[in-house]
Symmetry: C2
Subunit: 257 residues, 2 copies
């Protein structure tokens, strides 16, 4: 039987709220066994960019990353957010290491081709090196992954944190029994967006297709669930979409085949 | 006989000049065997701080690090500079990993006590974990170290890059035959500050004491040489002070007991 591992993705909104962050870090630290943390930081990047006089442009919820914005996200995701998470996890007794895709060449990507939209320095993931990640993990180290990748030619690229989490979970599925947790600011996938308690406890692929067709699942939840099912298809055992302060695997929406 | 390792410290001025940086990275990549890169980034931090409306205050050549400046150096050293160096080394075929002291708890420090000057969030190094560094190095990984440490209580601290390099070299001396190279914008320690070619090829401890007494060694070179001799006393085999584009161990000033 494969050893268990938990991959937790935490969004930017949580990272910036001290009370919720503190709770999240405490819950994450309490997860038994192997684990990986993947973080966002978009709101913080927007704030720093704004202070530097750089405008944040979003298309379909994705950031347009020109050269100035690439510097901002490299600073904010790779430095400010990542290193503070690592330092705080160390204080909790978790032997964390901060990684971008460039570090030990762990996530290689290519610059997204320009079709209708030029997203700029945004990377679409080519591969996650699960073997190298495993070397760290088996040494008792907990990777803390920033939403940055590299193209192998010396360029950092901005990459969606949900994608990093899903691709990492998939790469680890060869060696581990993987639980992938997407934590965010709601209790789970809601059947009624106006009712915070209308959490759908379980979504199968058939349910998902029905929810998309009838409009229950829209907006930012759509790529999140698509990521989830792709991960399941690629061998991830289960995906949990839950509140950032409820990452114990017993709350939120569970996604299975 | 111990295996050789080279620890190279590169200053902020080199990191910011594309032609020199490119040459340095190429030379560093060509160093055979185990190696570690330690970088500064002070000028870049000053520039980003200035754009954010934060004033850089220096005392005795050391940066006063208030809370705002700590955010800036965490972004610039831990993110912008570190991750770009890592990505570019990867492009050169060097399997680099970016580290602050918080990552795998590799450098623990304490906030410098306030005496005459309150340096703010500046960390004085307590210990470098040579064993953990060695685990990475023996896996064929090249650590790229930012001048940031942590206090074990969740706080990042700003730490002088020369100190990081010296302390890292000392911690590795137990396991390796260590060459420590301080690269900077001059050809070596000069006997005449107005003559760029007046490089002193070799400085022993006795020479150093004489040079301090007669005023040959002053300013920023003083702590650099003090660091060098401390490193030698702690088991580092040799220290080389040289131009950033001449890190092959055959140029500059060599320091020995």
């Amino acid at each position: 039987m494969k050893e268990k591992i938990t991959v937790v993705k935490v969004g930017g909104a949580v990272v910036e709220d001290e009370a919720r962050l503190s709770r999240l870090l405490s819950d994450f630290s309490a997860i038994e066994g192997r684990k990986v943390l993947v973080h966002g930081g978009g709101r913080r990047a927007t704030a720093v960019a704004s202070r530097l006089g750089i405008e944040s442009k979003m298309v379909n919820g994705r950031r347009i990353t020109d050269r100035d914005m690439l510097e901002v996200v490299t600073m904010v995701y790779g430095g400010l957010v990542n290193k503070n998470l690592v330092a705080r996890l160390q204080a909790n007794g978790v032997d964390a290491i901060g990684l971008t895709g460039a570090d030990i060449d762990v996530i290689r990507s290519h610059k997204r081709p320009v079709k209708d939209v030029d997203y700029g320095f945004v990377g679409d993931v080519d591969r996650v090196d699960g073997h190298k990640l495993r070397t760290l993990i088996e040494a008792g180290i907990t990777p803390v992954m920033a939403p940055l990748t590299h193209d192998g030619n010396g360029n950092i690229l901005n990459t969606n944190a949900d994608t990093i989490a899903a691709e990492t979970a998939k790469a680890l599925a060869e060696h581990y029994d993987v639980t992938l947790i997407f934590s965010f600011e709601k209790k789970g996938v809601l059947s009624n967006p106006d009712d915070e308690d209308s959490v759908i406890p379980l979504i199968t692929r058939a349910d998902f297709e029905r929810y998309v067709a009838d409009g229950t699942v829209v907006g930012g939840m759509l790529p999140k669930l698509e990521n989830a099912f792709e991960a399941i298809s690629a061998g991830v055992s289960r995906v949990n979409i839950t509140l950032a302060t409820a990452i114990d695997g017993r709350h939120g929406t569970m996604i299975t085949e």
